[in-house]
Symmetry: C2
Subunit: 191 residues, 2 copies
């Protein structure tokens, strides 16, 4: 019998379901590069991955990971700027099948440097502008740190208010855990 | 690209993941028999399905469905009594890999006859007493009808208070829908 997937594992399961060979996708919080690598293998040789992180260390860690275990995708663009710039960076006609966010601080990094609600919402909106039909914007929110609860609530509130004719918004969370396991929100474009 | 699964489809996905050939399982709200049939095919010839419904009409509809499309399982026991009796009906040493609840009224039936929070919680507890390691008790709650909101909240509150050392409790729900699409709660025994 199989165990229920954690929010993180479920995010990978969903990405696998919607991302196809040759797609363009976005990692809005590259962190240590694990999702960037995962996406780069999903899109394959002809695919494209855009990655963002406000921390130079995260970009360096990600480059190191990609050098160590080279993925099939060759077109990986990493930007050491806020993910709120995603809409400006992506070519205006580019459609994406998925974007992933891991909100919180850089694992193993400076815990005082975190993502913030305002720029996160800006980034989600930017991704929605490029989202293909049935594509997913997935947010995995860690919220045990100061400000994390507010950020999570802001993101959920944003998702709750999206037009149901245009988007389905799923929340996946564990109810009985005392130590703030991450929650997942997935926005699917349905129009 | 694949669409996000509805709560109902996700319940079937989870059941498929935890139920194996030869298992014993429970349908706590047989309704028109769709889940009973689904479970009866999952457990196969040597498996056993126990089904409960407070409405005689539901039991009749289920028998008719099973006659029309005979499943592989031969051991299907249907009871026209409250699911709160599940713990008394199941042999005390019997372990189950899954139990499913669809809370609300009988589709196509009398909308004034609904499940109630107190008996539902009693039934969930009864199933937990027989739940195998990694087994799942899954509740799909429709809550657009009078009393439905209270029942849903009672169930979620019960799940939230389960000991995290013994159970993982997942909630799967859509945030931006105006017409009360069902929510899913899945309790997995982890000890």
């Amino acid at each position: 019998m199989k165990q229920l997937l954690s929010a993180l594992d479920f995010s990978h399961e969903l990405l696998s379901q919607v991302v196809s060979y040759g797609d363009t996708v976005v990692d809005c919080t590259v962190g240590n590069g694990h999702d960037t690598l995962f996406l780069a293998n999903l899109v394959g040789t002809d695919g494209t991955v855009y990655g963002f992180d406000i921390q130079a260390q995260a970009i360096e860690n990600t480059k190191a990971l990609l050098r160590k275990t080279p993925p099939s995708a060759k077109n990986i663009f990493l930007y050491n700027i806020s993910h709120s710039k995603v809409d400006e960076i992506l070519p205006y006609q580019t459609m994406i099948s998925a974007a992933i966010f891991n909100l919180g601080y850089l694992p193993g990094g400076d815990k005082t440097i975190v993502t913030y609600p305002e720029t996160t919402i800006e980034a989600i909106k930017g991704c929605l502008n490029h989202l293909a039909h049935n594509g997913l914007v997935i947010v995995v929110a860690y919220y045990g740190h100061p400000g994390g609860e507010r950020e999570k609530n802001t993101v959920l509130e944003f998702g709750s208010q999206l037009d149901q004719k245009r988007y389905s918004v799923l929340k996946y969370s564990f109810l009985n855990q005392t130590h703030w396991p991450p929650i997942l929100m997935a926005i699917q474009r349905i129009d």
